[in-house]
Symmetry: C2
Subunit: 224 residues, 2 copies
Amino acid sequence: MTLILYTYDWLPEFPRGFVRDLRVRWCLEEIDRCYQVATVPAHPKSAEHRMLQPFAQVPAIRDGERTLFESGAILVYLSEGTQLLPDDRKAEIWQWLFAALNTVELSVMHWVSMILAERVPEFFGPPPAADVTAHAKADVDSKLAALQQALGESEWLAGDFSITDIAMVEVLRVVAAEEALEDYPRLAAYVERATSRPAFKKAMADHMAHWQAADAAQAERSAG
Amino acid sequence: MTLILYTYDWLPEFPRGFVRDLRVRWCLEEIDRCYQVATVPAHPKSAEHRMLQPFAQVPAIRDGERTLFESGAILVYLSEGTQLLPDDRKAEIWQWLFAALNTVELSVMHWVSMILAERVPEFFGPPPAADVTAHAKADVDSKLAALQQALGESEWLAGDFSITDIAMVEVLRVVAAEEALEDYPRLAAYVERATSRPAFKKAMADHMAHWQAADAAQAERSAG
C-alpha cells in the first residue's frame, strides 16, 4: 500500500516552502520511501479534514489502515529502525527532536506569528498590536475547542492513560490556572480526572515540598 | 543507580506547581520508580547547568552514565515498555504527545508568556506591549545562541544525520527566511549543510511543484 501524504490543495505564495508537509517529504526521501500526495481544502477547512487532523492542520499521513498526524510523530513513525532513528542513539535523538519542536520552534513561532499577522492580516487576522494578549488567546481557544472535540467522551487521549495525558494535562493546567478552561467542561473534567490520580497527588506534594524546603534553606542563609 | 531529577534550587511563588519537573515526577510515580532530586541555581544560571541542559532550562535527568533533557524526551525514555507507552499504541501516543507539546503548548505558551511579562516583569523582562515583536525576537535569540553553542563543531545534533536534524533545520529555515540567522554562522552552515542533501532538494522541488500544479488547477477553474 502506497503511503499517502496530506497537504493543502492551494496556498498563496508566502508560506510555500515552509508548509510542514516538507518535513515529512524530506524524511521520506532520506529513507527512500515512495508516497502519493492527497489534498485537503485550506479555506474553508472541511469536516473530513478535521476527522483526519483534529486541529485542521497539515500534514497527516495514511499508511494502509492507519492515519497519523503531527509532523513530529510522523517523523518518528516513519524512521523507526532506519538510519534516521537508530536504536543505539534513540534517547539522544528524541532529546533533540523535542528541543527542536518544544523549545526552539515554540519560541520561533511566537515571534513569526506576530510578523505574519502584520504582513498578511487577511490570513492571520488583524495585527496583534491592538491587543496582543487577546490575539494569542483566540489562538489558544481554537486549539482547546479542537482538543475538546477530539477527546469526545473518552477518558484519555490515546486509549488507556499514557504519557500523552501527563503532557497534555500539564499544558492544560496552565490554562486552568488562568481560569480559561471554564468554557471547556470536558477538558476541565479531563484535568480533574488526571489530577485525581494518586501519582499526580504524590508528585505535586513532593514538588511543593521541594519549594518549601528551598524557602527554609533561604531563610536559614539570611538568618545565618 | 538511583535516577536523579534536576530542578531549580529556589523559585518565587508564581511558577510553583507549574515547573516542568512536575511532568517527570508524575511519570515516575505512575511507573513506581524511585528518584532523588538535585538542584541547579535559577539565578544566575551556571555553566554546569548549561553543560547538562544547553538552554539552561529544567528538568533534566541523570540515569547512571546517561544525562537527558527535554521533558517530552524524558517521558518517552522513562516509559518505554511500561503501561504508559505500550508498543501496540505507540504511534497514537506519539501523535498526541506532539499534539500536546508542539500544537497546544506552543499556542498556550505564546499567550501565557505575555501574561507573565505583564505580571512579573522582574522575571520576564518588561511587558511586551511596547514592542511585542522585539520581545519575542529576544527570546528566539536566546534559544539560537544556546543551540549554536550546543552544536559546536559537530555536523549534526545527535551523531549522524537523524530526524532531529530534519525537524531542527525546518524550524531554522523559518528564522533564516527572516534574515535572522546571520549572527549565527554555525547554525547558518548547519542549515546549508542539511539543505544541500539530495533528499531535501528532491522534497523541496516536489513541494514547490505541488503549489505550481495548484496554481495551474486554479487558473483552469477560473478560465472554465
